[in-house]
């Protein structure tokens, strides 16, 4: 799939934002007043910024409001509805906390639950697609939620939890790459099933429909080199998991190191999210003999 900046930014930032909100809803860290304001500001900037980024890839963003209507069937619609609900609930919670210094814990818990639900909905936009076997796995929602929680924990300085989440995340990420590499062939899609011509022999594309590119080839037939992908996976694993874990375990923790860990982790997040799209192989590529 085409790794569009808008969707990478959207899923990464909103995941971080809702992750941070998740912890704020649980009153971790315990904050109030201007400090709380700053934390919530960061969380909202990430979550709302991410959501806004997603509209950049819309052909007609002015109609975006219509996307709230189909929550019964569409994960994308659900994501919209739930994210707005989350932001409203957490907004109320935050306003009361910051300006009235009142903390309504159940409201926070509800907000935190909605944060997880939002990230789950985001993940299911991709996870539901049978057309992209690498996404259509149980690890997809697990990964999105773990990225959100790990990032949120780092941003909210919940370091022991962060350590725990990053370790699990790294393991699931590696597992998901490994399983993802086999997912396409396991799903059983081949150029022969795509064309129905398997009974006649081995099928290969002789001539594409048009000599140039088209929407489908640009959007869904993106192919990256295997070696290139492996290098990026190593970088992602180091940045998002191994180095942060090592630093948390073996280095003194201070503001500087935490900021460094966050930066590294977010770089890892972006690289892995780029790979999430770039390595995803859509079955339509079979028709172009690019699988």
């Amino acid at each position: 799939m085409h790794p569009a900046a808008s969707v990478i930014i959207f899923t990464s930032l909103s995941g971080l934002g809702f992750g941070l909100l998740f912890f704020l809803g649980l009153d971790r860290p315990v904050v109030s007043g201007w400090v709380a304001f700053t934390f919530f500001l960061i969380a909202y900037a990430l979550a709302v910024g991410g959501l806004l980024a997603s509209t950049f890839h819309l052909g007609n963003p002015q109609r975006a409001m219509k996307a709230f209507s189909q929550w019964r069937t569409s994960w994308l619609s659900r994501e919209g509805v739930v994210s707005v609900a989350t932001l409203l609930v957490m907004g109320l919670y935050a306003a009361l906390l910051i300006f009235a210094d009142i903390r309504i814990a159940p409201l926070g818990w509800l907000g935190s639950a909605l944060c997880i639900a939002t990230v789950y909905c985001t993940s299911m936009i991709y996870g539901q697609l049978k057309t992209v076997p690498r996404w259509n796995m149980s690890t997809t929602p697990a990964l999105f939620i773990l990225y959100s929680l790990a990032g949120g924990a780092l941003l909210s300085a919940q370091l022991p939890f962060a350590l725990f989440a990053i370790v699990i995340l790294t393991a699931i990420q590696i597992l998901s790459w490994a399983r993802g590499d086999m997912s396409f062939s396991q799903a059983g899609h081949t150029i022969e099933t795509a064309t129905g011509l398997g009974a006649l022999g081995k099928v290969r594309l002789l001539e594409a429909p048009h000599s140039g590119e088209n929407y489908l080839t640009r959007e869904m037939v993106h192919v990256i080199g295997r070696k290139h992908g492996q290098k990026l996976r190593v970088i992602a694993t180091l940045c998002l998991g191994i180095i942060p874990v090592a630093m948390l375990l073996f280095f003194p923790v201070n503001h500087f190191s935490v900021v460094l860990i966050i930066i590294l982790h977010v770089i890892g997040l972006f690289v892995s999210r780029w790979l999430f799209f770039a390595e995803a192989e859509h079955v339509v590529g079979l028709y172009y003999d690019k699988r």
Binding site: R72, L206, P209, H210, S211, G212
Partner: protein
């Protein structure tokens, strides 16, 4: 949950009006319904009533909107302001354009009319353009048939008075086995697709003979991936097998062919090899009963097919025996030709057996009485349901004429021409050689030519030679080098004019022919010839006038441009005097008319030509008082009479529209055509539908319709006697003698029975060095160079890779995305390669005419057509590699002069991809029309 859906208007208004005209996105000439909305073209679909396409329409036809609104359309007459080839022009008025042309052409006509060479390309108005050239008086006129498919036309006419091309059609409704040789998207595109579909529906077998398995060959039930240039050998091997097994239709051969005619076998005779005739000039056969020669059509005469007879001291043998002796030779045994053809001997045997089985065991009979020209009544019509079609792949070889003849011979011995289930002619065909003119080339300064330029030579006396033996025509058509060049040789005009061989000309006047690019062999060489200057700094070809509707590559090389209209803005007639749109069951012709008026200062070329003709005072174009006879082409179409009562359009003649074929001009004729959907159609009577050359009812009907002036029945020529006349000359007989160096070629090539020789290019090169055959095919979605300016079509074929066989791919270790150098004896190109397994192992090929010169066709200079696209033309030369005898041998069929561009041999090697640009790169030409818009979204306004 509930399902909701929006209200939808499922009955929107489609258009304000439908205007029915004729397509011109290729030469197929389908009927189209042009839907007009707010004065613009909204939608084009096929016309269901139309004889050619019956409602269907191909990709090109459907993309007509984009052609009509193409940004490459020329806007006004132009004169050159830069150097030739640069593309720099200044727009001028039509008055100025005509003045410039007339000032040049008027004096030429008065002094030396041959100094004008007037050649047209994919022109569908040859009856007008040839008439104009004849009235001008130059001998130098032809259309593009010489590099198109003259081999098919000439071989067909000489053999059976009709041809493949669109002169005839397989009986799609009845045929049970169909073989198609060397056809991609050539003539006749939509009808072939429709026909194949009918065969599939009935379960008839389709055999595709073609080195490349695409298009029609892809859907054939059997693919024969023959080695290019060997079809003749393959067909003669099938004939060998059929003759050996006695699977020939003797009754058919006896009645309808010259198989029983007696051939003079006396080598010392001046009539050696000619057919025996009686005093009335009638062919003679040996009568079985009396054993004596008798006129073949004498009542009760039953001919002998074999043996030898001495008559008046001369020995004669029937054609059939000569044929049998020739083809029963082991040289034509399947085992002897298999390797050469790339087809196993078993396959050749099996296909011959299948043909014979269908022809003789599955014959069909129609209960339709008919009477032959001798008056004999037949109760039924018997058909041998095997049929054939062949085009380019046969034609564009130096053995194409004889190969095409071999296929006709196969059709004929199977008794499958003009019978139910076989191959059928479309009026005005059948029409024997005798019904066609001979070539004319005699000039008179200030006067017209002595007759039509093009025709069919009957012997050396018809050649276009001066008394000194030099060619009269600039293209050297109708000379000893190519005595039967019935369509002229447009591909030789520029190189001969540049060489001043046989003489220098003043003005080259061309229409719709992209000679500086994809319509020439040796494109680079042609560009150099067009721009070459002499020692005085003047162009070697002094003056070039060109007419085109679009900013093609050739535009850049002209001095004066006459801008043509698009096909939706013009009058045209698809005339019985030219190549009409008839069916086997009906006589038809059609028109184009301006369904949209031009929004530019352009004129239909034919109108411009007529206006130039009147300005020059050409007979036929001016009245006695010197005033213009016709205002424009529409006026000419309606009022011109070629013979009394016979004009460009056959339908709705006479004032009341009652005339069919014959009748006085009807001022309302064009309106009648428009009312009728743009065409006219008149059914052939049932008893005249088959056996047309010998069918009395057909012959009488054809006379009524003005096709002939008297009934013209004839026999098919298994043995083409006119060819022997050229051979006799080569043997030293007769007054007109060929130059010595051509005698051997004439004796070999002008064999009156079909014969095969290896393509000339491979005879002259080292085949181990150049092991591969290189071909082009026309893609179904593009027509020559036109398609690339079409925003929709160019997305389908914006580049063209060279397809190489799996064997070549593996041998050269090619990988996806690789490039290769392809080298011939003449040139070298660099091109992208793609693997294709469904391909003859020794063949490489590409789609033709995709490569474009930068700056042409209003495209961006970085358009893929100009960067990655390429032409094989750079590898082909109009001459053969030197043989060491100091002579120029042309790369063409020695009989017709047909350009042998499929003879090309190449070698291939891996090349570095570098910048991914194909070579050679030609510098850009300036675009006189700018470049097309960035983005388009047609149809939003409706």
């Amino acid at each position: 949950m509930n399902h909701h859906q929006p209200d939808l208007d499922t009955s929107p208004e489609v258009s304000d009006e439908i205007r029915k005209t004729t397509c011109y996105m290729c030469a197929c000439r389908c009927g189209i319904n042009v839907h007009m909305k707010d004065g613009k073209v909204k939608y084009i679909e096929g016309n269901r009533d139309h004889p050619i396409n019956k409602g269907v329409l191909c990709a090109k036809g459907s993309a007509g909107i984009m052609q009509h609104y193409s940004p490459a359309r020329l806007r006004a007459p132009m004169k050159r302001v830069g150097e030739r080839g640069e593309g720099k022009f200044e727009e001028i008025s039509w008055d100025e354009a005509f003045d410039i042309a007339a000032k040049r052409l008027g004096p030429i006509r008065e002094k030396a009319p041959h100094k004008l060479a007037f050649f047209t390309g994919r022109d569908q108005s040859q009856s007008l353009t040839s008439f104009w050239a004849q009235q001008f008086g130059t001998p130098n006129y032809a259309a593009h048939g010489g590099f198109c498919s003259v081999n098919m036309a000439a071989a067909g006419i000489y053999t059976m008075g009709g041809a493949f091309w669109e002169f005839g059609v397989p009986d799609w409704d009845r045929t049970k086995m169909f073989m198609i040789f060397g056809v991609a998207e050539d003539h006749d595109s939509n009808p072939i697709k429709m026909g194949l579909s009918k065969l599939k529906e009935r379960g008839a077998k389709i055999v595709g003979v073609n080195p490349i398995r695409t298009g029609y060959n892809a859907i054939a039930d059997e693919w024969v991936g023959i080695t290019p240039g060997t079809d003749g050998l393959f067909v003669l091997a099938m004939i060998h097998v059929l003759l050996k097994a006695g699977k020939v239709d003797l009754d058919y051969l006896m009645r309808y062919t010259n198989a029983p005619m007696l051939v003079n076998m006396d080598e010392t005779s001046n009539e050696f090899g000619l057919l025996l005739r009686d005093l009335q000039g009638q062919f003679m056969v040996q009568d079985r009963v009396t054993g004596k020669p008798a006129a073949f059509d004498k009542k009760g005469v039953k001919p002998v097919f074999s043996g030898e007879i001495t008559y008046q001291g001369t020995k004669y043998t029937p054609v059939f025996q000569l044929m049998t002796e020739k083809y029963l030779s082991d040289d034509y045994a399947p085992e002897a030709v298999a390797d050469r053809c790339g087809i196993s001997a078993e396959t050749i045997h099996r296909l011959a057996a299948e043909l014979a089985h269908v022809a003789f065991e599955q014959e069909i009979t129609i209960d339709q009485p008919w009477t032959d020209w001798k008056g004999e009544k037949h109760e039924t019509m018997t058909g041998r349901p095997v049929s054939f079609h062949a085009m380019r792949g046969i034609s564009a070889h130096s053995n194409g004429f004889q190969t095409c003849r071999a296929i006709h011979l196969l059709q004929i011995i199977l008794g499958s021409v003009e019978v139910p289930g076989g191959y059928r002619f479309k009026p005005p065909y059948p029409k024997p050689v005798e019904g066609h003119p001979t070539p004319h080339s005699s000039t008179t300064p200030g006067g017209p030519l002595n007759g039509p330029h093009l025709g069919f030579t009957r012997g050396p006396e018809d050649l276009a030679l001066n008394a000194s033996g030099t060619p009269v025509r600039i293209d050297k058509a109708f000379t000893w080098e190519n005595p039967m060049s019935s369509h002229g040789m447009m591909h030789m005009v520029i190189s001969n004019a540049h060489a001043g061989d046989p003489y220098k000309i003043d003005t080259l006047f061309m229409y719709m022919a992209n000679m500086s690019w994809n319509s020439s062999m040796n494109s680079r060489g042609v560009m150099d010839m067009l721009t070459d200057k002499d020692e005085n700094g003047d162009y070697v070809i002094p003056n070039i006038i060109y007419s085109d509707a679009y900013s093609s590559e050739m535009v850049a090389f002209a001095d004066l441009i006459l801008p043509d209209t698009t096909y939706l803005e013009r009058h045209d007639c698809i005339s019985l005097l030219d190549r009409p749109i008839s069916e086997a069951d009906a006589i038809c012709d059609s028109i184009r008319w301006p369904v949209v008026e031009p929004d530019r200062d352009v004129r239909g070329f034919q109108s411009a030509l007529i206006q130039l003709g009147s300005k020059l005072g050409l007979p036929g174009f001016v009245n006695e008082n010197g005033s213009a006879k016709y205002a424009d082409y529409a006026d000419y179409i309606v009022n011109h009479e070629r013979r009394p009562g016979v004009g460009p359009l056959a339908g709705f003649r006479n004032k009341d529209g009652s005339g069919k074929g014959r009748g006085e001009p009807n001022p309302e004729q064009l309106n009648k055509y428009i009312e009728n959907g743009g065409f006219w159609k008149d059914h052939i009577p049932d008893e005249a539908l088959f056996y047309k050359p010998w069918n009395k009812a057909y012959q009488d009907w054809a006379v009524e319709r003005g096709i002939f002036d008297k009934p013209s029945p004839y026999l098919f020529s298994i043995y083409v006697e006119p060819m022997q006349k050229f051979r006799l000359a080569a043997m030293g007989k007769g007054e007109l003698q060929p130059p010595d160096h051509l005698r051997a070629q004439l004796i070999e090539a002008m064999d009156p029975l079909p014969v095969w020789w290896a393509p000339y290019e491979e005879q002259g090169i080292d085949c181990e060095e150049y092991p591969l055959h290189a071909l082009t095919q026309r893609p179904a979605a593009m027509y020559h160079s036109w398609g690339s300016q079409n925003a929709w079509l160019r997305q389908i074929h914006g580049t063209n890779p060279l397809y190489v066989s799996g064997e070549v791919w593996t041998k050269h270790r090619f990988n996806e995305g690789d490039w290769a150098y392809v080298t011939s004896h003449h040139g070298k190109i660099k091109v992208p390669v793609v693997r294709m397994d469904a391909l003859n192992p020794n063949t490489v090929w590409t789609w033709n005419a995709i490569g474009k010169r930068k700056g042409a066709w209003a495209l961006d200079e970085n358009a893929p057509e100009a960067t990655k696209g390429f032409l094989l033309n750079h590898l082909i030369h109009e001459l053969l590699p030197p043989k060491g005898d100091g002579l120029r041998w042309s790369n063409s069929d020695p009989i017709t002069g047909q350009a042998a561009w499929y003879d090309l041999r190449v070698k291939i090697e891996k090349a570095p991809a570098e910048d991914g640009v194909s070579q050679p790169e030609t510098p850009a030409q300036a675009s006189p029309v700018g470049q097309g818009p960035k983005d388009i979204a047609y149809g939003g306004e409706f």
